[in-house]
Amino acid sequence: MEMVVVAPPAPGRLEDLRRRFFATPLQALLSLVSLAIMLFLGWKLLNWAVFSAVFTTSGGPEACQAAAGACWSVIAARWRIILFGLYPFDEQWRSALACVTVVVMTVLSCIPAFWTGRRIALVWGTGAALYYVLMKGGVLGLAHVGEEAWGGLALTLFIFVTTCLIGFPLAICLALLRRSDLPWISRTTGLIIDGVRSLPLISILFTFAIVLPFALPQWLQGDKLYRVILGSALFFSAYQAEIVRGGMQGVPAGQEEAAMALGMSYWQRIGRILLPQAMRNALPATINQFVISFKETSLVVIVGFFEILASGNAAYGTGEWRFAYVEVYAFIAMIYFVFVFSLSRYGAFLERRMSVGER
């Protein structure tokens, strides 16, 4: 005789709802009140954003002021300033294409099929060249546009991507140097990392943009934009180096011993054994750091660059649309959200992918 044990049937959806939210009279009351508040707020928001909102520019700012809802006409009227900043109006298609280039480049390099040295180099090489030619011009019949005129989304993306591109390898170098066996190397690196981390980003940006030109010879200065990117990459790498180091500490010492015993050289051990496992450990914190860096690009306004947030300020700040700042910020928030949320989802995808075979 075999005993057959049957699991109790899963509760139906209605039954589940009742158990979770209406188990006692007090709980039922709380549930209903919460529901009412949420519906009320939801309705208010929807009414503001959609039903009572003004979408066309035909009535001008006056139509907006008369309406009770959101004034999306400010976006319709000023979106080009928000997205492209001070970039010359007739050339803004180039800035748009440059944005697309950065996004395509980033998406491509996120696909596992592109994770070989040659393919990644190809993607970034062509991408960077394309972006630079599109934005700067001066060749192929494109009018020259100096870096000081770059702005909006194209500038935000450019600063973010280059910061990560320079900062990430730098972070790995710093993390490796910090665990060096030679005390004078590890201590010096530790001093640099802690030094950079203890300074506010704004002061670093300011130093690189304004102070550095006094200390460097003319030929070494480069444009202010590139100095600012270098400063931001340095700041990024100091934080990321500690994240990578934390990831390395999570790899058992036996892993490197096994690699040594198999005759692998230092770089083979680092590249094949230590870093892949360290990066897996460090992934959640790394995604976090990327997200923070994306949002910190808005600080470059302090040294006179009109990235997307500053461009947004300029879009409503001039006279007639002065009242419509909420709508402009909502629009910019949405753009930030799209990028940051995709970044987080990509992080989650990577975590799932890397957890293959995990104990």
Partner: protein, 254 residues
Amino acid sequence: MTSSNSSQSAGPAVQIENLDKYYGTFHALRKVSLTVQRGEKIVICGPSGSGKSTMIRCINRLEQHNGGRITVLGTELNDDVGNIDGIRREVGMVFQHFNLFPHMTVLDNCMLSPMIVRKQPRAEAEATARRYLEKVRIPEQAMKFPGQLSGGQQQRVAIARALCMQPQIMLFDEPTSALDPEMISEVLDVMVTLASEGMTMICVTHEMGFARRVADRVIFMDGGEIVEQAPPEEFFAASRNERTRQFLSQVLGH
């Protein structure tokens, strides 16, 4: 026992002379000398902290010795990185905690080093890897990740991984100490087979049955010194040293 591969070149496999090793002020190895002939199987036992692991880890330079000389296959171990890499290619090691690479499949674990260190073509490395996985009796696990295997299976993969480099000497550092009791014999069986094929083996282990079956010499260490060494029959039947007898009664007594 005579070695089967002594024809390659003359001289002992490992020669350790007056080895000293300190951890800070702790004197872990005290003027230890040991010569292992090619094809010889050595079992090293002793209480924890006696320096047995330290000694075999010095042989492939996972630990750096502070005094004395180690010569492996005719090459002296010193600060010359080329010498160290050359010796590590010829000396395989199996660890207590397996130390498989968790981010690679079993097959990739076995193929990586032959491909990047010995520069073998992929097809050749894969054929070798599959042959050794067959030998340790887990060919069907090749595409799994280490985390999906039992401890005994992982240790057998670790042995196969070391063998894929086709080493002349194998070091075993307590290979069964981290295993559940029912998995110990599957690992020991593989080691016995390996011994019967003439591999030079230096094993730190407390498996005295294994020592009886395969060892040419059993070495007892205590306090950083080799206290006694003898062929297994003599070692177990008539140890001359008091500390050895005490240790044996603890290991065999239950």
